[in-house]
Symmetry: C2
Subunit: 284 residues, 2 copies
Amino acid sequence: MMIVTTISEMQQIADDYRRNGKKIGIVPTMGCLHEGHLSLINLAKHHADVVITTLFVNPSQFGPTEDFEKYPRDFERDNKLAESAGTDILFVPSKEDMYPSDHLTNINVERITDVLEGKIRPTHFRGVATVVGKLFNITKPHIAVFGQKDAQQTVVIQQMVKDLNNDIKIIIAPTVRESDGLAMSSRNVYLSTTERNESAVLYQSLQLAKQLIDEGERNCSTIISEMTKLITSKPSAKIDYVLISNASSLEELVTLQTGCKILVSLAVRFGTTRLIDNIIHTKK
Amino acid sequence: MMIVTTISEMQQIADDYRRNGKKIGIVPTMGCLHEGHLSLINLAKHHADVVITTLFVNPSQFGPTEDFEKYPRDFERDNKLAESAGTDILFVPSKEDMYPSDHLTNINVERITDVLEGKIRPTHFRGVATVVGKLFNITKPHIAVFGQKDAQQTVVIQQMVKDLNNDIKIIIAPTVRESDGLAMSSRNVYLSTTERNESAVLYQSLQLAKQLIDEGERNCSTIISEMTKLITSKPSAKIDYVLISNASSLEELVTLQTGCKILVSLAVRFGTTRLIDNIIHTKK
């Protein structure tokens, strides 16, 4: 595995691969790699000749009161894990190269960034879209892999790619979970033992939603209320939101129509740690 | 010359050129080609193996009260002129393919778009940056040529390319002028005979500014007032602005410092036709 730290070198290498007819896949990460990331790298490997994993804790997607400074960083560990999963190039740019002090340009995706996570974190998806747009121009990939765990991010990136005509195939990988169902996340390390145990309720609540939908429940407020009851039975859980939306437009749903692809998503705090999770389900 | 109308075909052709080691140059235009555009195509030809001229009247850079519908269009004429200047591929996408009804993404360059033209046309540069970003992803160029006539546009595009890491060299071509100094523009066809004659005052006023600066004048308001006097001596001229700015940051200047690269720019209406022009000059 090669480690590349400068933007111009990365662009040159990408050009060379492309000229030699190699298919480039990219997996953008903020490091602190876990099995979820490794599954993305694995999937990229299936779809491309060369896999570039990018490792950059992107300041522009953190809000002013969020955890940019304390976001977990362990380069040596990430380095080994990325290589073990089959990364060919680890791209690790500096903050100063990615966002010099005279940076003035942002990519904004409207409407679908105003709901769910975007409602609570108003500049988050502008930061995500901009850094992903930059990484696309730096690594020049044919395909890019993102995890379903960040459901809204997958919708925003796909919209951006369509609107800006990036000639890149976006592949969404399923969420990887711990044995009790908790979605893998870099933030799980912050959980106390009690919080960690109680956090399994998130996946249970999503499975409950699926069951209710399959049993014929069409009223979203009923489903949300049952999920809320289950989640708040855990003393350390504080709900930010539990929502049922159209999986493509992200519009909030009131009643479920047959055939509709539904996103059931939630954000819940356990102590100071905020976790998100979701499932996509089609109403039969 | 090949005419390409679909985005996916254009991307495929660009990929093929790149794989064969060909250097691609792009000249983005809104059609109604004149000698200014032809000089851009010519310059692109010097710097690239393949020149793609794009022809798209971009709705997103016109304000709601501006002249999108009546903007001059003459495909047959543009076709012949583009070919005669050495265009290899004329890319002519449809409005529906470029901006489908569910388009949600914009590229915003901050601060430098709030002054000069951007102050009067608040969404103009968002439209320009977005469409140029799209055209870059569609034509995959190594170089792109823009005219100095749209001075602020050249600064905005260069900032965007730097910030989003587009691996593209931006080349700025000097303004081509009629024999009396009027800058070539697609909008010149709107001028009545009187207006056309009087519009030569714009270049005269820019030359006057240059002369005053070279003679030692450092006070911007004095220079602007001399230019204003000259321009308003023409009955059909109505000034939108005459400004002296730092050529890189576009910040308005009060006093000229030695060695400073200066942009002297103006927008003036002759009847209903709005013309812009500028010079770049370094204070010795």
